[in-house]
Point group: C2
Chain length 335, copies 2
């Protein structure tokens, strides 16, 4: 064990794509826990599209990460030393330690050992799965026989959204960026169809795969893909606005779709949604999703990149479509 804590510091707010120098990897001494605190060693760091939002200073749902601060990120850590009787060495703790190898914490959510592999708590049984679950069911409200479209279908959230929609008796059409991802989405996750938007005219393909129109759109992407979906929505369609990754590297705010008037004409509903609002209801999610995962009804992928020093290059995979499933950095070995 090196006696240093590697940390990614936000130095500049990226303009457009993240550039060298926007974040800097620094080494500092491993911190020492004070009274009531414990030292947590990061095992897994979650990389999510929203990380790019936190780097910017556009209006957002949490304060942006401060310049000079450690980059924010969800983590699963193991307790190494503790001055807190509630946390013992070896305990697994979920928190927001950020992009660093060690953190001093005063509390956190202890995770059970055993029922599922640790990466599951960072994906299907973590915020990713909860985002899919509440976004689709509570906002999208899919009904038996309806057609649900999921963009970024091979992604961490999208792949789970599609599987839940299938469990609810919907026709599910995914959109992804390669034939291999589409094959995976249909064969392994059970979507009814998947459109490779890099190969096909997305508007034509949506008309073909959604002959009855689109009732629910779980929107992860925004931009032209969202416009093509809007063109095909049914009356009273519901659009779960979970993310708009296509716009995150753009400068400034994210534009609405060019065919926004479809919302009026089709009396559709767009609703923005961020998982933190559902924290009081996580119990519902753990109960139902835990059972689905245990029964093999919901599957999940993890894409694990090793080493905290690779966090920044790994994050970029989200914007280039280089990952399939939940993207994690493994910063150290599981206990």
């Amino acid at each position: 064990m090196r006696n240093s804590n590697r940390q990614w510091i936000l130095r500049k707010r990226p303009v457009g794509d993240i550039k060298p120098g926007d974040l800097e990897l620094v080494e500092s001494p491993i911190p020492v826990p004070g009274p009531g605190q414990f030292l947590a060693r990061t095992v897994y760091l979650s990389l999510d599209p929203t990380n790019r939002i936190w780097m910017s200073d556009i209006e957002q749902y949490m304060p942006p990460v401060g310049l000079g601060d450690v980059m924010r990120g969800g983590t699963l850590s193991v307790v190494e030393q503790s001055n807190n009787p509630d946390f013992k060495p070896g305990d697994i703790v979920s928190g927001i330690s950020g992009w660093q190898e060690y953190d001093v914490m005063s509390g956190g959510q202890k995770m059970p050992k055993g029922p599922a592999p640790l990466p599951a708590y960072m994906s299907v049984l973590g915020m990713t799965g909860a985002t899919a679950y509440f976004g689709l069911l509570d906002i999208g409200k899919p009904q038996l026989g309806e057609t649900v479209v999921v963009s970024a279908a091979a992604g961490a959230v999208g792949s789970i959204v599609g599987q839940i929609a299938k469990l609810k008796g919907c026709r599910v059409v995914g959109i992804a960026g390669s034939d291999e991802k589409c094959r995976h989405v249909v064969e392994d996750f059970g979507f009814d169809a998947c459109i490779n938007y890099k190969k096909e005219n997305i508007r034509d393909a949506l008309k073909r795969e959604c002959p009855g129109g689109i009732d629910v759109d779980f929107e992860n992407v925004g931009g032209e893909i969202f416009e093509a979906i809007l063109e095909n929505i049914n009356m009273k369609a519901r659009i779960v606005l979970c993310g708009m990754i296509s716009g995150y590297n753009a400068e400034g705010q994210i534009r609405g779709p060019a065919n926004f008037s479809m919302i009026l004409m089709k009396r559709a509903r767009i609703e923005g949604f961020i998982i933190i609002d559902y924290f009081p209801r996580l119990g519902e999610f753990f109960a139902e999703m835990g059972a689905w995962v245990a029964q093999g009804k919901v599957k999940y992928d993890t894409h694990i990149v090793k080493g905290m020093d690779n966090a920044l290059s790994a994050l970029n995979l989200l914007f280039t479509g280089g990952n399939t499933g939940k993207l994690l950095v493994q910063a150290s070995e599981e206990p």
Copy 2:
């Protein structure tokens, strides 16, 4: 009585502003009712922003008006001759006879005589009032003490929305295009404040007049005014998308706001809404609004232009802000 029926025929789909030659005023013989039909003389024709949508062929909520057809419009007519035992000469009938002085009809909604002046049935007690009522209450769901913003506040719908919001205990801030309209909205309709968007920076003025942020936006205008509103919305804000008149004379579809990402960040809800979906519930509206009007709790304006030949120039008032309150063409005398 001239023995001719003046009719406005849609000849070309307007590109941008409506131009001479897009619609043509023609004279044809007064039609003769067949078996089961009656001849209806138009008394009032409703002019509404949505008329401009019907002239275009963008994706919309009813079929566009066909080229060569009489322009569509809501009407209040008097029965002149009848071969239908349910409709007697002198009866007042609400329908969609369009931009013409006479129509042959087979049915329609008979209106009561007496309780309110006829123009009220084309405004506060008609589709205009119902749009304000269901849009605000059913979609906007304003709560006691919340702040409601209404664009086109001096307009037919906006002026009623604001009065209902006041009855529900909200702070109500209007946006209109002249000091005179703003004075009218505050002094006569009881809004708490009104912003003249032609004189003030709308973003700054909204911050001043909505110090607690905006909870409900009843959106009639779209464009830059909508963007300024979005910039000031609160968490879980509701945007009742009733219309986007600022975009109706633009070519093609209507763009979404430049700061669309606010919907995500504030977990807001945008919901499109068209009154025809509420036809099954009109009884609720008539009961409650009828009482409010009778008690003087809700006031209304009508702006009446005489002569069917003036329908097209009158319609333009909606786009230049030349009217205050419900815009009607009076095509013939009340019976």
